[in-house]
């Protein structure tokens, strides 16, 4: 078979705009290019604003992981101004971010990723009774009975029979890479629908503390939701009960639906444990502070770096070793196109040099994306659930290590399968289970503090700009659902002088650098990767979705001064 040029644009079931190009040969992918096709300019917009407003602006980087930029921004400003937030505020942020993880990962599995593995049309052929029997061997979930399975199948039949396939139009149904029996497909479709209802319920935790979701409200110095057991307008016993119930329903769904489904489906696709490994380096900045954020030993998911898949050593992470490059990106640097800049000295001037639209191919272009290339000591790094679980596993984490071992045991595979497309998807499930169990403990700790009379949620002594130094800079980190996130802020005379973010999808979707090192998406697609039918690129979706791309997050502008945006000339 000849070499075939493949373009998949738009990549669907992700956040934002992503284009994948590839060259395939004899059913394998030889080369791949990941191109981010959106640019918004939010950091230019940040310049000159009040640092206390920054969380709201940066939150709008992404409405899917709607918590993460807001919290990272608060942390960056709090770092710059040396603000220590009250314990209750830290716990509330953990609960809000924890529920973000749980809800986001479940949505990712069922609504963004599942259709890569689940053939909806095949579910029509399933025997509902057999489906129920199978489901009941996997889990005690009460909605797995035959009547429920039959009802879902009837609804699906009616939907397909009406001839309007809607979101399922032109799916890759019947593709030879689909391997699940009809009954497993039906079970997954049933839970696809149940998860839609479940997510709407549990995310209300954000509404209790932040007033709404998406885009709940945050506050530099703590949280705005005051605690008073004797008021109708604050966090009180009624609200706490509501939250406790949500946390319980979240845990039960994760333990009885999401996790059993993930393990069952993974069992049919074990070969994907040897596909799509890609970049062998993993970065986790750590998350869920159980004390002050500056106490780096008290992060529930630890910080660290794994190099060359070597799990015997966890290296220290130092944000000063992060640099961004623009060798393949539509930007220019004052220090030349091959310079690498740390975010505190970062600059960005967009300079589009691609072909005129509409595009045919970008793969022959020297520059092909709006995404920059972050590197750690010159190395491309994977970030996300797999990085977190590998760092925790290699650190001997008391919850992660047994959970990983148990999972590998269930699937009857060795730890080497972690470095794969399947490994990324499994790691996401593992951390969701652990967080779903952790939430109850965090809420319990806050209740204990309230019992002891500590109801503080905000530290106001540095609220007024008159208390700030003339110049300050801060680094806010947060390990988000999709991976390590950093916000860097510089404040001068009460205003933002420079604001920069290096976000998970910038790491994972980074393009080639001057050394020719591919970014994680690209390297994974080039690692033992099948593509049976270039017209129906199902396998590409599997690996790209295993990263859970969030493109709006990945693309940003880092203009130091915010005023000299170079005019772009389409050439």
């Amino acid at each position: 078979m000849a070499k075939t040029k493949v373009v998949v644009d738009p990549i669907t079931r992700i956040e934002g705009h992503l284009r994948i190009e590839a060259q395939s040969e004899n059913g394998r992918i030889a080369k791949a290019w990941a191109s981010s096709t959106q640019f918004r300019g939010i950091e230019i917009i940040m310049q000159g604003r009040d640092p206390r407003d920054a969380w709201a602006f940066t939150q709008r980087i992404c409405g899917v992981c709607t918590v993460v930029h807001a919290v990272a921004s608060c942390r960056a400003v709090e770092d710059a101004l040396n603000i220590k937030i009250p314990a209750n505020a830290n716990t509330i942020r953990n609960l809000v971010h924890g529920m973000q993880f749980i809800q986001d990962h479940v949505i990712h599995f069922y609504h963004l990723h599942a259709l890569d593995w689940v053939d909806v049309v095949s579910a029509l052929k399933a025997d509902p009774a057999a489906t129920a029997r199978l489901a009941q061997t996997l889990s005690p979930w009460p909605n797995n009975g035959e009547p429920e399975m039959r009802a879902v199948q009837e609804r699906l039949k009616k939907f397909v029979g009406a001839g309007q396939l809607g979101i399922f139009t032109n799916g890759y149904w019947g593709h030879p890479a689909y391997k699940l029996p009809p009954e497993v497909n039906l079970l997954a479709v049933a839970h696809y629908l149940e998860a839609l209802d479940w997510q709407r319920d549990v995310i209300r935790l954000h509404t209790v503390f932040g007033g709404k979701n998406p885009h709940p409200n945050f506050l530099v110095g703590g949280m705005a939701s005051a605690i008073n057991l004797d008021s109708t307008a604050t966090i009180n016993a009624e609200r706490i009960t509501d939250i406790a119930d949500m946390i319980k329903r979240a845990r039960v769904f994760v333990e009885q639906v999401y996790w059993p489904d993930l393990v069952a489906i993974a069992g049919f696709y074990k070969e994907w444990g040897a596909i799509g490994g890609g970049v062998p380096n993993f970065l986790a900045c750590g998350e869920f502070p159980e004390a002050d954020i500056r106490d780096l030993d008290k992060l529930y998911f630890p910080r660290g770096i794994i190099l060359d898949r070597d799990l015997t050593k966890v290296h220290e992470y130092d944000h000063k070793k992060v640099q961004e490059f623009i060798h393949s990106s539509w930007y220019e640097y004052s220090k030349g196109p091959e310079a690498g800049l740390h975010p505190f000295e970062g600059e960005t001037s967009p300079k589009y040099t691609g072909p005129k639209t509409p595009w045919t191919y970008l793969q022959d272009e020297a520059k092909y994306t709006w995404m920059k290339a972050p590197r750690y000591e010159g190395r491309p790094m994977q970030v996300g659930p797999l990085s977190r679980m590998l760092v925790a596993y290699a650190s001997g984490h008391p919850d992660v290590k047994p959970m990983v071992a148990e999972t590998l045991g269930k699937l009857q595979v060795g730890p080497e399968v972690l470095f794969s497309t399947l490994g990324r998807t499994a790691a996401r499930g593992i951390e969701t289970v652990l967080l779903a169990r952790k939430m109850e403990q965090w809420l319990g700790e806050m209740i204990s503090r309230i019992k002891n009379g500590d109801v503080a949620t905000f530290t106001g002594d540095k609220w007024e700009p008159s208390t700030w130094p003339a110049k300050a800079e801060g680094y806010g980190f947060l390990d988000a659902p999709r991976g390590s996130l950093g916000h860097w802020v510089q404040i001068e005379n009460g205003k933002i002088a420079r604001y920069q973010c290096v976000v998970p999808s910038t790491w994972n979707c980074s393009p080639r650098d001057a050394q020719g090192q591919e970014g994680p998406y690209e390297a994974s697609l080039q690692d033992n990767h099948p593509l049976v039918d270039p017209e129906r690129p199902l396998e590409i979706l599997r690996t790209i979705h295993s990263f859970d791309p969030c493109m709006a997050c990945g693309v940003h502008v880092l203009d130091a001064e915010g005023r000299e945006v170079v005019e772009v000339k389409v050439q």
Partner: protein, 381 residues
């Protein structure tokens, strides 16, 4: 809120399928159509034709474009309760193009979109989230190798109506905040020849979106709108006029600092920057996420996200709208609102003056804000 699935035979499914699910056989159905044909005076031989026409009534096609955006508006719609997103996608409409949920990718979905646009030309509902970058020939957002502007213009040309969903599609939002590096604009700045409803907010409440869609599908027309193109059923009132903390404003009881004693009593957030007096929004009434709470209810001031240019006119967010010089309880809220709006313009962000003032004036011009009534109750659209 309306839930069409609770009504007998609506647009939720073909009539044939609907009757069949209720135990009406095809033979009975054709017989019924024969009787109807006679009653209508077109002769019983026309029965099969009538049956075919009725049976082919389909769920209306919806095409959803996601342009320069953060996907928060999609997520907000995923949170709707009545109808749920599952009901909406499976029973109410035929969602023929939507990036976040579609199974296929690349060429497969672009072909699906082209087919749906051709088959439903002039009839489909176009939903747009995200702004449209216009600088540098629109290169800042491309889909399938084409610019957002190009994609929008093509899809709009065959649409019956457009829902511009969220602040970005409404007026550009965060991308259009000063200095608007990509030249981002809203749908109304590009498309001039189609009815457009703006579902304002960053993001809007999901239930407002589905209620607007259901309004269109149930009553066959778009809801009445204000001068900003926002449906009156949702955006007809200021937050300040419906706020659960309003009594504290009238009584002069204000939070002076977050988490102070008055914050713990749930007093008015005006002094810590609340923009409720200058913001038309359904938040206090619809509330968020199955009516769980809303921003002011959870102790944070309103940031005014349903108003155009709020990133520039409402910032700094914690800056107080200027003092209106005492506001006795009996004073008309409109007067206070106008004074606050003027004050906001002067005190918070100078260049916001025109915008905020225009909003009030426009409403007065279109009789959305009564000129006289001292009553702070119902407003009439």
């Amino acid at each position: 809120m309306l839930n069409p699935s609770r009504y007998a035979w609506t647009d939720t499914e073909t009539l044939g399928a609907h009757l069949e699910s209720r135990g009406v056989s095809r033979r009975d159905f054709v017989k019924f159509c024969g009787e109807m044909a006679v009653i209508l005076g077109i002769g019983s031989t026309a029965a099969p034709r009538v049956a075919k026409a009725l049976q082919s009534l389909k769920r209306p096609s919806v095409i959803w474009l996601q342009l320069q955006e953060c996907t928060g508006c999609v997520e907000s719609v995923l949170r709707t309760a009545e109808p749920t997103i599952g009901d909406l996608v499976l029973d109410v409409v035929s969602l023929d193009y939507q990036h976040t949920l579609m199974a296929g990718a690349g060429d497969a979905v672009e072909k699906a979109k082209q087919a749906a646009m051709a088959a439903n030309k002039g009839q489909y509902l176009l939903i747009v989230t995200g702004s449209i970058p216009t600088k540098e020939n629109g290169i800042y957002t491309t889909i399938g190798g084409r610019t957002a502007k190009d994609v929008l213009e093509e899809a709009a040309s065959g649409a019956a109506a457009i829902l511009a969903l969220g602040a970005c599609a409404h007026w550009g939002s965060i991308q259009a905040a000063r200095p608007n590096p990509t030249g981002a604009v809203g749908v109304r700045d590009i498309i001039k020849n189609k009815p457009i409803v703006n579902i304002a907010g960053c993001p809007p409440i999901g239930d407002v979106v589905t209620a607007t869609a259901v309004h269109y599908l149930t009553f066959g027309r778009l809801p009445a709108v204000d001068g900003e193109g926002r449906p009156l059923f949702a955006y007809g009132k200021r937050i300040h006029d419906q706020c659960s903390r309003r009594a504290h404003f009238d009584a002069g009881q204000f939070v002076q600092a977050f988490d102070d004693e008055s914050a713990r009593k749930g007093w008015c957030l005006y002094e810590v920057g609340c923009k409720g007096p200058a913001t038309f929004s359904p938040c206090p009434i619809f509330q968020w996420n199955t009516r769980t709470s809303w921003p002011i209810g959870a102790g944070h001031p309103c940031i005014g996200c349903t108003e155009p240019n709020f990133w520039d006119t409402m910032t700094p967010f914690y800056g107080r709208l200027p003092n209106v010089g005492g506001f006795p309880v009996e004073r008309r809220v409109d007067t206070i609102g106008m004074a606050l709006a003027l004050g906001a313009a002067a005190g918070v962000a100078a260049h916001g003056a025109a915008t905020v003032l225009t909003q009030i004036r426009r409403r007065k011009a279109t009789h959305q804000v009564p000129e006289t009534s001292g009553d702070e109750g119902e407003r009439h659209g």
